[in-house]
């Protein structure tokens, strides 16, 4: 790995550090602030569980962020993370509530605009709606849990000292769970933008398990968060502990548990799978704001106690943050990308061209799209997604779905399968059958990703996606990741189409 990669990753590590410095306080702030748990104990538990959460369960939310905008080159990812980190840093300096999640989403949209890529509206809507759902859900869980816990304590009539001892253990366990959930959910913010351009390759640890390239990134990000926890979070924890002083230790425990449950719900692929199997609706896996979950839970408990002493201005500030944070991050990212490109001569995005070539038209026809309507667009090449959609917009009579399908089909991604590159592919990342299928394609080139997908599906059943049901989601997502690894591996930058 060369030094440039580390330099580019540094902005993500900075973002991870500031996340550790700020958000660890949501998990252990009251425990340390009220001196129920020693800082060193809290920091150690927090670091270990953040890293575990990031590496083991970090994939789900990162995947969603990747769908919002696939940043396709390292310097671009660097600037997106840096813009988000700067926004978080500046807003924290200005004492405004800020969420890393909202900053990174704004920065990604900024990159999409700069590179004239498309922002997936569906994903964006899911993301934005979870910002509202997350604190509300934390509030509902917090209120319910508080009622159950206080009711139980009333019956149990524990001695004050016994309650104190149990609360300490409860705070440590809840903190560990909270740190795990924080790592699982928020690692996407820190390292998500680097996943599509990951410089790492998957490798095996003995025959036990494989560590994917994304997991290596998450490990690095997790370590950055841990460094943030150890170097800077003590002050924040003491402040949080003081600010939330009216909370009793039991209420603090309920807050941490509710926060952790919410972050876990939005991060757990296992739970998603379980829900899908039981035929229940699944929860989207998205990064949510840890701070807002905490505030939601506190307000939930406050309402349960009769709504006295609730800081409604704080609520207003959060709502303002929903709009302001992504806006600031987006604008910062856009401007900074301009400088990086024109002053520092870095390529901040890999241009993606679109062409309605003969195979695209044939496939479109097969999908029931009337290509006759496309008129003189056929055979023309467009330099960016934005220009292509503009041109499509002029072609009459296409539904939104058809337009999206055409955009997917027409995207040019020149892939050439060669034996030497295939040999570099990590051993554990593909099954034997999958690898053999790729090997049959050596020497062939593809202008569109879906052409490679088709060829692989023809070569082996193991490359075939299962029917698109929620139960199969996990399998298909893993397949997607394997496909993406192939695209990155076999991509050739010259986009000229051979005759």
């Amino acid at each position: 790995m060369d030094v440039a990669i580390l330099v580019f990753l540094s902005s993500g590590l900075f973002l991870g550090w500031s996340l550790g410095a700020n958000d660890a306080a949501n998990v252990f702030g009251t425990a340390v602030g009220t001196r129920m748990v020693r800082f060193t104990t809290a920091a150690l538990i927090c670091s270990v569980f953040v890293i575990l959460g990031a590496v083991i369960s970090g994939g789900g939310a990162a995947h969603t962020l990747g769908k919002l905008g696939a940043i396709n080159i390292m310097p671009g990812a660097f600037m997106v993370a840096l813009a988000a980190a700067l926004t978080v840093y500046l807003m924290t300096k200005a004492s405004l509530p800020v969420s890393t999640t909202q900053a990174i989403v704004g920065a990604i949209v900024g990159w999409n605009l700069f590179s004239e890529s498309l922002t997936d509206a569906g994903t964006l809507i899911i993301l934005v709606s979870t910002w509202v759902i997350c604190p509300v859900l934390a509030g509902v869980i917090g209120a319910g849990l508080y009622r159950v816990v206080t009711g139980g304590l009333r019956v149990a009539k524990l001695h004050l000292l016994r309650l104190d001892a149990y609360t300490r253990i409860g705070l440590i366990l809840a903190g560990a769970f909270g740190a795990y959930s924080l790592g699982a959910n928020n690692i996407a913010n820190v390292m998500g933008v680097f996943v599509p351009v990951s410089p790492f390759t998957a490798f095996n640890v003995g025959d036990l398990f494989a560590i994917s390239s994304a997991q290596q990134l998450f490990l690095l990000g997790g370590i950055a968060i841990a460094v943030g926890v150890f170097t800077y979070s003590k002050r924040v924890m003491l402040t949080v502990g003081r600010d939330l002083a009216p909370l009793s230790p039991v209420a603090a425990f309920v807050v941490v548990v509710s926060h952790s449950i919410v972050l876990f719900l939005f991060a757990s692929q296992g739970l998603e799978h379980l829900l899908a199997r039981a035929g229940l609706p699944t929860i989207p896996l998205v990064p949510v704001s840890s701070s807002q979950a905490v505030i939601g839970a506190i307000i939930g408990i406050g309402l349960m106690k009769g709504g006295r002493g609730i800081n409604y201005r704080l609520l207003g500030n959060i709502a303002a943050g929903w709009a302001a944070t992504p806006l600031i991050a987006g604008v910062t990212c856009f401007v900074a990308l301009f400088f990086l490109q024109n002053v520092f001569n870095q390529q901040v995005y890999r241009p993606v061209a679109y062409e309605l070539s003969a195979p695209v038209l044939a496939r479109a026809e097969a999908q029931g799209i009337d290509t006759g309507r496309l008129g003189d667009l056929a055979g023309r090449r467009f330099a960016s997604a934005a220009r292509f959609t503009d041109a499509l917009g002029e072609a009459n009579g296409l539904t939104g779905d058809q337009r999206d399908a055409l955009i997917r089909l027409a995207e040019i991604d020149r892939l050439v399968i060669d034996a030497a590159t295939l040999a570099r592919l990590g051993k554990g990342s593909l099954t034997e059958g999958q690898r053999a299928a790729v090997a049959t394609l050596v020497g062939q080139g593809f202008d569109h990703r879906w052409l490679l997908d088709d060829a692989l599906e023809r070569a082996s059943a193991e490359w075939r996606a299962r029917p698109d049901t929620t139960v199969n989601k996990l399998f298909n997502r893993a397949l997607d990741e394997q496909r993406r690894a192939l695209y990155t591996l076999f991509r050739v930058d010259e986009v000229d189409i051979e005759p």
């Binding site: 009220t34 001196r35 129920m36 009333r154 009539k157 524990l158 001695h159 004050l160 000292l161 016994r162 104190d164 001892a165 300490r168 253990i169 009793s248 230790p249 106690k305």
Partner: protein, 216 residues
Amino acid sequence: MKRTAIFSKTRELEGQIDEFFDKVGDGALSFKLGIGYYLSGDTAAFEEKLKQVNEIESRGDTLRRQIERKLYAQTLIPESRGDVLGLLENMDQILNKCEGPMWQFAIEKPDIPAEFHADYNNLVDSAVAAVEQLVMAARAFFRDAESVSDHMHKVLFYEKEGDKISTRLKMAIFAGDLELARKAQLRNFVEHIDDIADTAEDVADRLAIYAIKRST
């Protein structure tokens, strides 16, 4: 196992707090018996009770110091530590107020006319009853803060009874034809005993606030 070690320390401290409250209750009961013996003229039994109250008081002091040191050294119950500390010190005051009059009886050996004996005994009964209810309220504070008020109103009731008896007794003392110096001495002893009930009431008032803080 560290976990069980944590709980064994907790159990030990819980035990010490319970023992401290036992001592406050024992001190008040020994005081009651001691004054009874004094009034009935059984000097040997009175001396015995004086010694006992003395030992109880110093054991109470030791327990209080140990508990306080543990609470701070192990940073236990950070939210209620100040309140618990205040409660323990005030309860300890009650032990001191039981011990003080016993010594004064031993030193001054007041000659109390027989017609006042019944009311002295009544006064001691209500003061000690107030302390006993306070001990129950204090125990409840640690286990079930909401039931503190059940004992609270009884403390207040016995304190008021004590006030009535002490006023009646002082009026009777000064209405008689004893020397002024003796009247003043007898009044002092009434006030010393009544002071126990007054202190119990003050502690109970504080305890009510601690309990409200705990149950919110």
